[in-house]
């Protein structure tokens, strides 16, 4: 996992199977080319796919297509290795970061000549920036072992090589130089002593890198920490002797997408396109568990518990980001009060309410909330990163607000922090006093923004989820999970009646009861059992809905309407004329206060404690169902074929 995180850029969504078809569609119909190119570039692409995007860009440019909203950047590449592989990968990757990149290539291994001659290809091209892609093989690093003076001399010479190139480029073209640190080779001469002994390659390169970093300070040039990148993936992975011998590749082509992404981040930062704010989901993202169901004692975010520590490490990273000027916001499907509880009362939570600039906890879809957050912060949605463990939420935001960066997260929360950091959304080339002040500016805010109109076509998105809902009466196999849900669910629970497994078994067998266990799957996987219903028959023609609960994970997906449709379906076949539902308020289930009203029931009673009773005549009931496939299992002699509900207008 950690390994492929960097090689495959696993924070990006997987490329779709029809990727090359989509590429072709872009050529055939270049309308809105820039935006669509950026969309394609935002997938997890290998070198070949990135090359395709580079070709498409060249074709489009020749045809005079408008590349808006991509911002143009002309980059010259000066290298002692083969730049031909780097350049198309850079062009494809830059689109991901909002840059329409054009590259100018100098001949192989002509760094100093190109920099110093005013008539060189590079200097004549008047680029916006120059990438000095120089690796250790370009520098005169050979040195007598053991001599401190001579080693210092060699370090000076190496630095002056780079300095000469920079000065020449500045004098001739007045461009920004992107200077790379040097990744040392994996091979050692003595062993660990290489770091101690003056003149050993590792000793020298370490000092060259320090010198390079210092030489950047106070200039407008930028450091690209290739040494750090190689360290992260491992030097033996980074350098491929075979590939160097074969084609003078300074590092293994497997890491081209990663390298290109790092170059593109820097270019994007130069053009002011870095992300500014981080929008956080709460349940199972910032802490383990569901605050509305598990309560303050039940959620995991404490030291001494491996799961809790995983979430704390993400919280620590988030706070560090805030300290460097990244604005924090929350988007959670919760009641506002419930969602704020851990921030206020959990003793080990690191993030507190005062760290959050905008706090959106409601039951709206997240795309809508994220738009509201952007508006409140006066930022474009393209400045936002959205972190959520739930693939359905991630995908909704990705589809409806493609400008928002939405990292894919691995299943293990211990890797959340690493994944978020690896994605490099907040790459920055300077750090200023303003950045420091920004955190203070949003102090003590945690502002809540009113509900907004929907951000996009949520129904169409739901239809694209390929949901399949399965209805089944209680049975022995499901009994354990049914009992667990009955005793655990707090939020989407109309009556919060708790039953033992023995009592559930009675409902399973007794013909006075009609029961439902409901499962939901979609193209992201199986959500398991997500809803439970128990109806008790009164008189001949009435069902009282004794229990109706649902997992909040599937909120906003039309499940409750489908469940009502299913109840009505069976009620009709058994001569039931009336459904009676009730809502019993607790301190956790405000969410479902209007459940029956939304489903078209009529209120018939209201008690002093806020309890309400509702009725629905089965003959006149009218349910708006969502597009999903319905499966029915084990409804005895009345067993019927599956039905399919298609999208409603």
């Amino acid at each position: 996992m950690c390994f492929s995180l960097f090689r495959e850029l696993s924070w990006l969504p997987k490329s779709p199977p029809d990727f090359s078809l989509r590429c072709r569609a872009l050529v055939d119909n270049p309308i809105d080319f820039g935006r669509r190119l950026q969309g394609l570039a935002s997938f997890r692409l290998d070198e070949n796919q990135l090359n395709h995007l580079a070709k498409l860009t060249t074709i489009a440019r020749k045809a005079g297509a408008d590349l808006q909203p991509l911002v143009p950047f002309r980059l010259a590449v000066l290298s002692n290795s083969t730049a031909d592989f780097i350049i198309p990968t850079l062009v494809g990757t830059a689109a991901r970061h909002g840059i329409a990149l054009e590259c100018i290539k100098a001949d192989y291994d002509q760094v100093i000549q190109q920099a110093l001659s005013p008539e060189s290809v590079i200097n004549r091209a008047k680029p916006d920036g120059v990438l000095l892609a120089v690796d250790y093989r370009a520098l005169p690093l050979g040195c007598q072992l053991g001599s401190r003076e001579e080693a210092a001399n060699v370090v000076r010479q190496a630095l002056s090589f780079i300095e000469t190139a920079r000065t020449g480029l500045k004098a001739n073209s007045n461009v920004v130089c992107i200077v790379q640190t040097i990744a040392p080779p994996a091979e050692r001469l003595f062993g660990s002593l290489d770091r101690v002994l003056p003149g050993a390659l590792r000793y020298v390169i370490e000092r060259v890198n320090i010198g390079l970093a210092e030489s950047i300070v106070g200039t407008e040039d930028i450091l690209l920490d290739v040494a750090g990148l190689a360290e992260t993936v491992g030097l033996a992975e980074w350098h491929s002797p075979t590939e160097w011998n074969l084609a003078k590749l300074a590092f293994s082509n497997s890491y081209l997408p990663l390298y290109a992404d790092h170059v593109a981040r820097v270019l994007a930062a130069l053009r002011g396109k870095s992300r500014r704010a981080l929008v956080l989901d709460l349940d199972n993202t910032l802490w383990g568990g569901v605050i509305g169901d598990d309560g303050i004692e039940g959620i995991q975010c404490a030291q001494g518990d491996p799961a809790g520590e995983a979430y704390l490490s993400l919280q620590r990273l988030v706070l560090d980001l805030r300290a460097r000027g990244i604005v924090l916001a929350v988007s959670s499907k919760n009641n506002d009060e419930t969602a704020r509880l851990p921030f206020r009362e959990h003793p080990e939570m690191l993030i507190r309410e005062e760290h959050i600039a905008v706090f959106q906890a409601n039951w709206n879809d997240k795309a809508t909330n994220i738009k509201a957050i952007a508006k409140e912060l006066s930022l474009g949605v393209d400045s936002l990163v959205f972190l959520d463990d739930n693939p359905v939420e991630r995908n909704l935001v990705h589809e409806l607000l493609p400008e928002v960066a939405v990292p894919e997260l691995p299943s293990d929360p211990a890797l959340y922090a690493r994944t978020l950091a690896a994605a490099g959304y907040f790459e920055s080339i300077r750090f200023s006093d303003e950045d420091l002040k920004r955190a203070r500016y949003y102090q003590d805010n945690a502002k809540r923004v009113g509900l907004q109109t929907a951000a996009g076509d949520v129904d169409a998105y739901l239809a694209s989820l390929e949901m399949e809902i399965t209805f089944q009466p209680f049975d022995e196999t499901g009994r354990g999970r049914i009992t667990q849900l009955i005793n655990k669910s707090n939020q989407y629970n109309l009556t919060t009646k708790r039953y033992t497994e023995a009592e559930v078994a009675v409902a399973e067998r007794d013909t006075d009861f009609f029961t439902l266990q409901v499962r939901l799957s979609d193209r992201f996987g199986d959500n398991g059992m997500i809803s439970v219903v128990i109806c008790r028959q009164h008189a001949d023609s009435e069902w009282e809905i004794d229990t109706w609960l649902m997992s909040c994970r599937v909120l906003g997906r039309g499940v409750e309407q489908m469940v009502l449709g299913e109840i009505l379906h069976h009620a009709e076949r058994r001569g039931i004329r009336k459904l009676i539902g009730s809502y019993r308020p607790t301190d956790r289930n405000k969410l479902v206060r209007d459940h029956y009203s939304k489903l078209g029931f009529t209120q018939v009673r209201r008690d002093a404690d806020g309890s309400t009773v509702w009725e629905l005549q089965t003959e006149t009931a009218n349910v708006a169902e969502t597009a999903m496939k319905v499966r029915r299992l084990d409804f005895g002699p009345h067993r019927e074929a599956s039905r399919r509900v298609t999208a409603h207008a």
Partner: protein, 82 residues
Amino acid sequence: METAEIYQEFTKIFHDVFNDDSIVVRPDLAANDVEGWDSLSHIRLVLTVERSFGVKFSASEISKLKSVAGLVDLVRSKQSDS
């Protein structure tokens, strides 16, 4: 892996590397038959084959390659090594 399966995988690789879904991969397919098959894309092709089959070739093995059939044989010999 059977030769037929290798050719199937090769077809996908050729389509990816040369950005052309119409290429039919045959044993005697050569650089002249495919638009854009130059020395650079040849390296890309070989490295993509390495990644996709999880094998590694030496520089001399790569420089000796003359045809698709040779590359398929090389993949097979590496797979039987492991």
